[in-house]
């Protein structure tokens, strides 16, 4: 039964891709569907307080402040770049280079480092299945990251990328964004390298265009309705790689930080409005 269903799914994938690619002739039909979908989207977003991701923001705040791990300390001494425990506006300046780790890190990689080095958590355990499956809530690290991102709400992405290592990571990110690889010969730019592209009814932002990057990036982490949980940026990258049939992206890996850096740079000046609400 499962095989037949999968074949039907595959067939439907082909059909809907073909349907989506007809472009011009369906223009007016697509536009009216987009308008009706906008009603749904604005109803969902109309009350930010009621975004279910706020429950994870609350949880993340509690986790940040509660002593945990073998060392039984809270994360309040974790330096996110503005000094130990300084949370307001820290996310808006990430990714950045950290001297103590001698590495450029995004918020999740930095949290991983603090959870390991301050609280004494086992790194391997933190890296094992770090992202939630459908229906499961975001895990602790992701919840804390969502809280930290929330504390930069209203600010603009303003990571300077001035340190030599930051510049190097940014260059790597740009290269990776356009690098075609894997069994489907996909790069990020295959889907995100042009304006107006769509998969089924999901529109694909053109990330190399700052105007589009600025609008979208500030909405992550976001509550994903289809999976009923919060998806962080690291999870988003992981899932994209999975969709491209590329090897698993490790949380906080160089590849993930490089790509996030490129996206953040493209979104420079864009407003942070977290948590987002997505399909």
């Amino acid at each position: 039964m499962k095989n037949i269903r999968n074949k039907a799914c595959a067939a439907a994938l082909v059909l809907t891709s073909a349907f989506a690619d007809t472009g011009q002739t369906q223009q007016s039909g697509n536009e009216s569907i987009e308008r009706e979908l906008d009603t749904y989207r604005s109803m969902m977003k109309s009350d930010p307080w009621s975004n279910p991701a706020m429950l994870d923001v609350d949880r993340g705040e509690a986790l940040w402040k509660t002593p945990a791990g073998p060392n039984n300390v809270s994360l309040e001494q974790c330096d996110l770049g503005l000094g130990p425990g300084k949370v307001d506006g820290a996310f808006a300046m990430l990714p950045r280079y950290f001297t103590d780790a001698d590495r450029v890190m995004d918020v999740e990689a930095r949290l991983l480092w603090c959870m390991e080095n301050l609280q004494g958590f086992d790194r391997v355990k933190l890296l094992t299945r770090p992202h939630p499956s459908a229906g499961m809530p975001v895990k602790d690290l992701g919840a804390i990251a969502t809280y930290l991102a929330y504390r930069s709400n209203g600010r603009s992405f303003s990571a300077p990328f001035s340190h030599p290592k930051e510049k190097a990571v940014l260059a790597l990110g740009e290269t990776l964004f356009f690098h075609r690889t894997g069994p489907m010969d996909f790069a990020c730019s295959t889907c995100h390298g042009e304006s107006g592209k769509r998969i089924r009814l999901q529109s694909l932002p053109f990330f190399s265009k700052p105007q589009e990057a600025r609008k979208i990036l500030g909405e992550w982490p976001a509550y994903r309705v289809s999976t009923a949980h919060v998806m962080t940026m690291q999870h988003r990258i992981y899932d994209c790689f999975w969709q491209m049939r590329l090897p698993e992206v490790e949380l906080g890996s160089d590849v993930s930080i490089a790509l996030i850096s490129y996206l953040v740079k493209q979104a420079d000046g864009g407003e942070i409005k977290i948590p987002g609400m997505k399909r």
């Binding site: 307080w49 009621s50 279910p52 706020m54 429950l55 949880r59 509690a62 499956s133 229906g135 009923a228």
Partner: protein, 107 residues
């Protein structure tokens, strides 16, 4: 149920005012019809009841079913008779309860 629910009450209210009360609770609302990656069914687990009491008296109640989305959001109204204590109760299959109390002050 371990997550702390969100409850929104207006900051200051006047007696006789009709206020909107918003609640948001983390819960998967498993219907019993969803499948795991390995094909097995995820067991049903619903938050089946939400009660709102003011000064010990029930003001509003909800019976939730499989057609209610995960992380239930419930928003309803009440006319303020005076200052007092709210008690909000969420009950899930199996009897697990989450109780939150909030004080309502009037000007």
């Amino acid at each position: 149920m371990s997550a702390k629910p969100r409850i929104r009450l207006p900051d200051s209210v006047t007696i006789g005012e009709i206020i909107e009360i918003k609640t948001l609770m983390a819960h998967p609302m498993e219907t019993g019809a969803r499948r795991n990656a390995d094909g097995t069914l995820v067991p049903r687990l619903l938050l089946h009841t939400f009660e709102a009491k003011f000064q010990g008296k029930e003001v509003f109640r909800a019976a939730l079913h499989t057609g209610t989305a995960a992380n239930p959001f419930i928003s309803f109204f009440m006319k303020v008779p005076g200052p007092g204590e709210f008690e909000f109760i969420w009950i899930e299959d199996g009897g697990g309860r989450t109780i939150e109390r909030k004080t309502l002050k009037t000007t």
